[in-house]
C-alpha cells in the first residue's frame, strides 16, 4: 500500500463514510474514551506544558541539525557492524531492501508496524520476488489478510473493523472456526504468527526513535511483535523516516513518554526495546546482520519551508484522536495512509496538491489538534498555510470564491465602501427572507440553508442604532 489510498474522489469517500455507522460509532467511542484517559495520565504526570515545550525544543534542535545527527547515527551503526543505506527516494529504498532479500534468498519476511514502509509501498516489491511478507501487528495483520484493506488510523489501523468482520475474515482466509470474542481472535493470531516468527528469514521493522549517540533504534509496542520480529530471524532491516531521530537516550525517554501518553494514554507501552546493531558476539538470538534504511522521500523538501514544524511529528495520533472532522468521516475519507490533521498537513506535502487539495479545507480550524500535539506542531496554522498556497500559487481556488474575496477586500479595506455595501444587505436579502429568516439562500448561502436557517439582516444595523442613540434618540 503506497501513501495514496485509491478509493475514489474526496466527496464520494466522505459520503460513503458518513453512512458507515459502525465506523463512526467506533471512532466516536475511541475518541471519547481516549479523551478521558489521555487527560488522566497527563494530569497525573503534571507540568504538561513544560513537557510539551521540552519535547518541541528537542525536535526543533534535532531538525535544525539533522545532517549532524544522521552522520553520528550512521557512524555508530557502522561501528557496531550494522549497514546503513541512505535512500533519497522510495525506489532507492525498495531496491536496496530487495537486493538484501535476494542475497539472503529470503522466502518469508515478518514485519512489525511501519508507516514509512507503507508509504514507500515496500510489500509488493518483496512479494514480486517471491517473498511471503507477514504483518505481525495485530491491526495490520487483520487488514493484510483482508485483501489489503487500507489502514484508517496511524496507530490503530483496524479501528474501522468490528469483531464480526474480523471473525469473518479469519474464517475465510485462515480456516478459523471459533467466535468473534476478541480474546479468541487474538489467540488465533498469536498461534498463526508464532509459527511465522520462528520460520522467517528476515525481520523488517520501522523505527520510533533512532538514537544518534549509540547507533540504536527504539521500538514501541504493546504486543511484543517487534521484539519477536527482531529476536528470531537472521537478518533485520529497519526502515526509518529520516526525521525520526534523537540525540541521546535522555531525549528518547522524554519523547517516548510523550508518545505513549498521547497515543494511547499509557505511561509506557508493554514493550519498549532499544536495539543496537546485529547481535553481540556470543549471543544466541538477535539478528546476525542489521541494515538501517534511512528514507527521505520528500521530507527534505519540507525542510527550510514554513512547513518544517510538521517534521517534528512523533506519529502519536493525538491530533487524530481529538479531531471533530475525523470523528465523523473516518480515516479512509482522507485517501491517504496519513489521516486526520497530521495527514491533512503531510499528505499534500509528500504527495502533491492534485491528489490532496480538499484535505486542508476539511477542517473547521478548531485547533484541537494544535492543542493536543505533544511536540507543539501548529497544525491548524499549517492548514491555513496550505489554503494560502492553494489560493496563491496553485490557482486551485474556485473563481467565484476569488471574486468574493476581492469584494471582501474592497469592502473591508475602506470603511465608506463597507458602510455603503452593508447598508443594502437588508434589501439584497429581501427576496429570500420569510418570517425574519432565510430558508433557501442564494449563492453561498444555498449550502448553508441546505441544513440550517440563516438570519435575515436586521432592519437597522447596529452602527445606525448607535449613531441615532448618540444623538439622543432610540433607547433600545
Amino acid at each position: 500500500m503506497p501513501m495514496k489510498i485509491e478509493n475514489g474522489p474526496f466527496w464520494k469517500r466522505v459520503e460513503e463514510n458518513l453512512h458507515n455507522d459502525f465506523m463512526r460509532g467506533a471512532v466516536a467511542g475511541m475518541q471519547d474514551r481516549g479523551y478521558v484517559r489521555r487527560l488522566g495520565v497527563i494530569e497525573e504526570l503534571g507540568h504538561w506544558e513544560e513537557w510539551r515545550s521540552l519535547a518541541e525544543q528537542i525536535r526543533k534542535h534535532t531538525l535544525e541539525n539533522l545532517d549532524f545527527y544522521l552522520m553520528q547515527l550512521s557512524e555508530n551503526v557502522a561501528k557496531r557492524g550494522g549497514h546503513v543505506f541512505f535512500a533519497q527516494t522510495a525506489e532507492e529504498a525498495n531496491d536496496y531492501i530487495r537486493r538484501v532479500a535476494l542475497e539472503k534468498q529470503a522466502k518469508k519476511i515478518v514485519k512489525s508496524k511501519s508507516m514509512v514502509t507503507e508509504e514507500i509501498n515496500l510489500n509488493p516489491v518483496l512479494e514480486a520476488i517471491g517473498c511471503q511478507v507477514v504483518e505481525t501487528d495485530l491491526g495490520e495483520y487483520i487488514l493484510q489478510i483482508d485483501d489489503h484493506d487500507p489502514p484508517s488510523h496511524i496507530v490503530g489501523p483496524a479501528l474501522h473493523k468490528n469483531k464480526e468482520q474480523i471473525r469473518d475474515v479469519f474464517q475465510r482466509k485462515l480456516g478459523y472456526t471459533k467466535s468473534s470474542d476478541p480474546v479468541e481472535l487474538a489467540r488465533h493470531a498469536r498461534e498463526m504468527l508464532r509459527r511465522d516468527y520462528l520460520t522467517a528469514d528476515i525481520g523488517i521493522t520501522g523505527c520510533n526513535f533512532a538514537i544518534a549517540e549509540s547507533g540504536s533504534i527504539t521500538l514501541v509496542t504493546n504486543e511484543g511483535n517487534a521484539d519477536l520480529v527482531t529476536a528470531l530471524p537472521k537478518t533485520q532491516i529497519t526502515v526509518m523516516g529520516m526525521e525520526r531521530i534523537v540525540p541521546t537516550f535522555e531525549e528518547m525517554e522524554v519523547l517516548v513518554s510523550m508518545l505513549t501518553r498521547s497515543a494511547v494514554g499509557q505511561k509506557l507501552t508493554s514493550y519498549i526495546t532499544v536495539l543496537t546493531g546485529p547481535r553481540d558476539e556470543g549471543d544466541v538470538d538477535g539478528p546476525e546482520e542489521f541494515h538501517l534504511v534511512i528514507v527521505d522521500n520528500g521530507r527534505s523538501s519540507i525542510l527550510g519551508t514554513e512547513f518544517q514544524p510538521v517534521l517534528q511529528c512523533i506519529r502519536c495520533a493525538a491530533c487524530v484522536n481529538v479531531c471533530p472532522v475525523y470523528r465523523h468521516i473516518g480515516g479512509h475519507s482522507y485517501g491517504s495512509i496519513y489521516s486526520g490533521p497530521i495527514g491533512a498537513v503531510l499528505s499534500p506535502l509528500l504527495g502533491g496538491y492534485d491528489d490532496y487539495k480538499e484535505l486542508p479545507y476539511a477542517s473547521s480550524l478548531c485547533a484541537a489538534c494544535t492543542e493536543a500535539c505533544p511536540v507543539k506542531i501548529p497544525l491548524h496554522e499549517l492548514l491555513i498555510k496550505h489554503r494560502q498556497i492553494i489560493v496563491e500559487r496553485e490557482g486551485k481556488a474556485p473563481v467565484a470564491e476569488k471574486l468574493a474575496m476581492k469584494a471582501f477586500r474592497l469592502g473591508t479595506a475602506s470603511s465608506s465602501l463597507y458602510r455603503f455595501g452593508t447598508k443594502f444587505a437588508p434589501s439584497a436579502f429581501a427576496p429570500f427572507v420569510e418570517d425574519g429568516r432565510v430558508t433557501k439562500g442564494p449563492g453561498p448561502l444555498k449550502a448553508w440553508t441546505e441544513s440550517r436557517e440563516f438570519p435575515a439582516p436586521s432592519k437597522e444595523r447596529f452602527r445606525d442604532w448607535f449613531q441615532t442613540r448618540q444623538k439622543g434618540g432610540n433607547p433600545s
Partner: protein
C-alpha cells in the same frame, strides 16, 4: 474608563441585539463606550480561507479605526483571537508592526474585559431557566479565555447552569467550512445539539456569533425548543 467597541460584522448586520446589550452592559458598569465608525472586519473570513493579502487590507483598516482607542472590546472570542494574531502577521513590516502590537495589546473579548480589567464577576443580571454554555474553539484554545464566561454566568440570578457534555468538540461552524464542507458540518452541529438536549437545556449561551448562528440555525431548522442567546444578552438581562 473609555472603551471602544469593535462590534464585528456578524453582529453589526445580523445580531444587533448582542451589540446593543454589550453597550448597555458596559455603560452600566461605568464605561464610556464609543464606536469608531471606520471599523469593518477583523479579517478572519479571508485569512482563514487563505486569502492573506485581502485579509491584511481589512486588518490595516482595523488598525486605522482603533488607533486612538484605549481599550478595544469585542463580543466575539474569535475576532479577538484574530486581532491577537496581527503582530505575528505584520512581523517585519516597518509601517504596521508597531500598530499591530498596540492593537493586539489593547483588545479584549467582552467577558475577558469584564473579569480581568473591570474585575467584575457579578453584573447584577437575572435570567430564570436551565442553561448550558458553548465553549467556542477559538475563544478557548486560541484566545485562552475559559473561566471568565463561567464566572459571570454563575452569578446570574435564577440561572441554572449545567455543563455541556463533549464541550471541547467543535460545533462545525469554522467560517467557510460550514458551507464548503456542509455535510460534515451538519453532522458536527447535530452532535452538538444532541449534547445540548442530553442536559435538558432551555438556553444555549455562547460568546461567538458564528457558533450561535450555526447552532441556532440548525436548531431552528429542526424545530427544537432551545433558545440561543449571546452571553452579552444574558448578562444584560435584568428583572
Amino acid at each position: 474608563m473609555k472603551v471602544s467597541l469593535f462590534v464585528t460584522c456578524l453582529i453589526d448586520l445580523f445580531y444587533t441585539n448582542a451589540g446593543k446589550a454589550t453597550v448597555e452592559l458596559l455603560e452600566r458598569l461605568g464605561c464610556e463606550v464609543d464606536f469608531p465608525k471606520a471599523q469593518t472586519c477583523c479579517g478572519q473570513p479571508a485569512y482563514n480561507s487563505g486569502y492573506v493579502k485581502e485579509a491584511k487590507e481589512a486588518m490595516k483598516q482595523m488598525m486605522r479605526a482603533f488607533a486612538h482607542a484605549d481599550y478595544v472590546v469585542t463580543p466575539s472570542g474569535s475576532c479577538a483571537a484574530m486581532v491577537k494574531e496581527y503582530p505575528h502577521l505584520f512581523h517585519g513590516d516597518p509601517e504596521w508592526e508597531e500598530e499591530a502590537k498596540q492593537l493586539a495589546a489593547k483588545t479584549y473579548e467582552l467577558t475577558q474585559f469584564l473579569v480581568d480589567v473591570l474585575k467584575v464577576e457579578d453584573v447584577g443580571a437575572s435570567l430564570h431557566g436551565r442553561a448550558t454554555y458553548h465553549t467556542s474553539c477559538h475563544m478557548t484554545r486560541l484566545l485562552g479565555v475559559k473561566e471568565a464566561p463561567l464566572c459571570l454566568l454563575k452569578n446570574v440570578k435564577g440561572l441554572e447552569l449545567v455543563p455541556l457534555p463533549n464541550a471541547h468538540q467543535c460545533c462545525g461552524f469554522g467560517g467557510t467550512f460550514s458551507v464548503k464542507m456542509g455535510p460534515i458540518s451538519e453532522q458536527m452541529v447535530d452532535e452538538k445539539i444532541t449534547h445540548i438536549e442530553e442536559v435538558d437545556a432551555d438556553y444555549l449561551i455562547g460568546a461567538d456569533c458564528g457558533c450561535l448562528m450555526n447552532i441556532g440555525g440548525r436548531i431552528e431548522r429542526l424545530g427544537k425548543p432551545i433558545r440561543v442567546m449571546h452571553i452579552a444578552e444574558v448578562l444584560n438581562q435584568r428583572k
